[in-house]
């Protein structure tokens, strides 16, 4: 021991290290539990679905399951899901943006802002069964608004072709958690608009609308697009609200996947896997675009 230290000190003229460096692999032990959990409960289920999607009932390699995705009723389910997701992402995005605008740029009292943020936190988490009940009590056949319109204005919504249990009804219901989500996501971006910019624009003689068209909106565009994509994904993958509102009688991708899990209608495990994989692919593309846009928007939001 001594001689080794001597040789280090005298031979190489290097000071001995105060402490021996810990073995590097030891550090990696600390993260094993988390990565094991992620492997078993996220990666393994997803991989199982992926592998299953390329196999037929006998376990042989096939692409037949993906051909099944082009069945008219499945295509229709995709179409309805995309329509609802688009409608609620744009509708919810617009209302959410305007509300966030009102409490940030619009200079409403701070108390309004605080209550808006609290309520958005609640409402964006108020999805699923109770939300369906709330909308049945509002716009169902004997709902409050339905009856009000009938008794006061003589409009019978259900005679006009409206039904809570179809496209428009479901979209209105989804909006309840979509626009608060938009408020939560877009408020930080609106906060990032610096006062200097609008003042500088005003000093150069720009009107408010010119400032918005040439400065604020271009800066906000990636944030807004990113938020809308997030909203799109949020309703694309939603199951609980749609199922409890319609009892499963609406042709959405998530509902079709649900019935494949239960194994009731036209049971075909391979198709179920392919549907699930298709969903993961769509969501991955959405999230990838979201992250790209977020990176762009962060350039401007840096302090």
């Amino acid at each position: 021991m001594l001689s080794k230290q001597d040789s280090l000190l005298n031979g190489k003229r290097d000071a001995p290290k105060a402490r021996p460096a810990p073995l590097p692999w030891r550090n990696w032990l600390g993260v094993v539990p988390f990565f094991l959990f992620a492997f078993f409960f996220i990666a393994l289920p997803s991989l199982t679905l992926l592998v299953g999607a390329f196999r037929d009932n006998a376990g042989k390699l096939t692409l037949q399951n993906f051909v099944g995705l082009f069945d008219p009723s499945i295509l229709n389910a995709y179409w309805v899901t995309i329509k609802i997701s688009l409608a609620t992402a744009i509708g919810g995005g617009l209302l959410g943006f305007l509300m966030a605008y009102a409490v940030t740029v619009g200079k409403l009292p701070n108390s309004v802002r605080t209550s808006l943020m609290t309520f958005s936190g609640v409402a964006s988490n108020f999805a699923g069964v109770p939300l369906a009940f709330a909308f049945i009590a509002t716009l169902g056949r004997t709902g409050l608004v339905t009856l009000l319109l009938k008794n006061l204005l003589g409009i019978n919504l259900y005679d006009q072709g409206f039904s809570l249990y179809s496209f428009w009804g479901l979209s209105l219901t989804y909006m309840f958690f979509q626009f608060p989500l938009m408020v939560l996501v877009i408020t930080p971006a609106l906060d990032g608009l610096k006062k200097d910019w609008s003042e500088a624009a005003a000093n150069l003689g720009a009107s408010q609308s010119l400032y918005w068209r040439k400065v604020a909106l271009p800066i906000l565009t990636p944030s807004i697009l990113g938020a809308i994509i997030l909203l799109f994904g949020n309703s694309f993958g939603a199951y609980a609200t749609a199922y409890s509102l319609t009892g499963g009688f609406i042709n959405l991708i998530t509902i079709v996947i649900g019935s494949q899990i239960k194994g009731d209608i036209y049971y075909n495990p391979g198709l179920g896997y392919a549907l699930a994989v298709g969903m993961i692919v769509v969501m991955s593309v959405m999230m990838a675009i979201y992250y790209m846009l977020r990176r762009r928007s962060e350039r401007w939001l840096r302090k």
Binding site: P45, L95, A137, Y239, M283
Partner: protein
């Protein structure tokens, strides 16, 4: 200036109506169980239903285990990565955002396919199914648990604190329980309440794994048979969510932001 704030009020009012009207309608409906008079009969019926208490107890217990499991899993890992393996931080963030890519309905599908057969057979026993349910909820909670813990860790100097503690002779468990956890109190409490708010009424995963043992599927069952009682359940569930979110506000002093996001359910 006047005109600007006029429109601001218009948008806020529009959103407020969208928010309040369904809740008002639900509340109004829930009071009409007795013909001709307003009464709290439907609430009484719910509170007198032993299944209401049984399912809510079950979901509460599951939520508590979810909170404990996700904190044990995320806090030490995030701390360790900040301290020793900063190169893994991006990967940790990526994993914790995966629930955005794998919606609940797909997650439950995969979990059932993996764990109902060989070699795990978790769904053969009630205990095994409950464990699987907790694991699924830990995954659902990952995005916001990670984000709030990560923000919490960023606001303290992990390396200096650890070195100071070590030079005073503190063991790893002392560092964890006396330094890291107390410093992350706000992050842990707010993600705990968010987990409570989302897990208690969760439907998608619970309905496939445990059925009407859980509160979400119980609500759904009531909705199929009892009109007025379902409205009172919606009000109760809303007040529970509101209560937990209010507690979060209390702890984080009104800083609600996008860190409360989670994947599609």
């Amino acid at each position: 200036m006047r005109r600007k704030s006029f429109w601001s009020w218009v948008w806020i009012a529009l959103g407020a109506i969208y928010f309040i009207l369904p809740l008002y309608a639900t509340f109004d409906f829930s009071l009409r169980a007795k013909k001709g008079v307003l009464s709290f009969l439907s609430y009484q019926n719910i509170f007198n239903d032993p299944n209401f208490w049984k399912t809510i107890e079950f979901s509460l217990v599951i939520a508590v285990f979810t909170i404990i499991a996700s904190i044990i899993l995320v806090v030490p890992t995030a701390y360790w990565i900040r301290l020793k393996l900063p190169q893994l931080r991006g990967m940790l963030e990526f994993i914790s955002m995966l629930p955005f890519v794998v919606p609940a309905i797909v997650l439950v599908f995969g979990l059932i396919r993996v764990f109902s057969g060989a070699p795990f057979f978790l769904t053969n026993t009630f205990f095994g199914t409950d464990i699987l349910l907790v694991a699924a909820y830990v995954v659902l909670a990952l995005p916001y648990v990670f984000r709030s813990v990560d923000t919490g860790l960023a606001s303290i100097d992990v390396v200096s604190l650890t070195e100071a503690a070590q030079s005073l002779g503190a063991s790893w468990s002392t560092i964890m329980f006396k330094i890291i956890f107390p410093n992350l109190k706000v992050a842990i409490l707010s993600s705990a309440f968010l987990t409570l708010a989302t897990v208690i009424g969760e439907y998608t995963i619970a309905s496939f794994m445990v059925g009407i043992k859980a509160f979400g599927p119980y609500m759904s069952l009531i909705g199929q048979n009892r009109t007025y009682e379902s409205s009172s359940l919606a009000i109760i569930s809303f007040m529970v969510t509101w209560g937990f979110m209010g507690l979060i506000q209390l702890f984080s002093r009104g800083k609600a932001d996008s860190s409360s996001l989670s994947g599609a359910r």
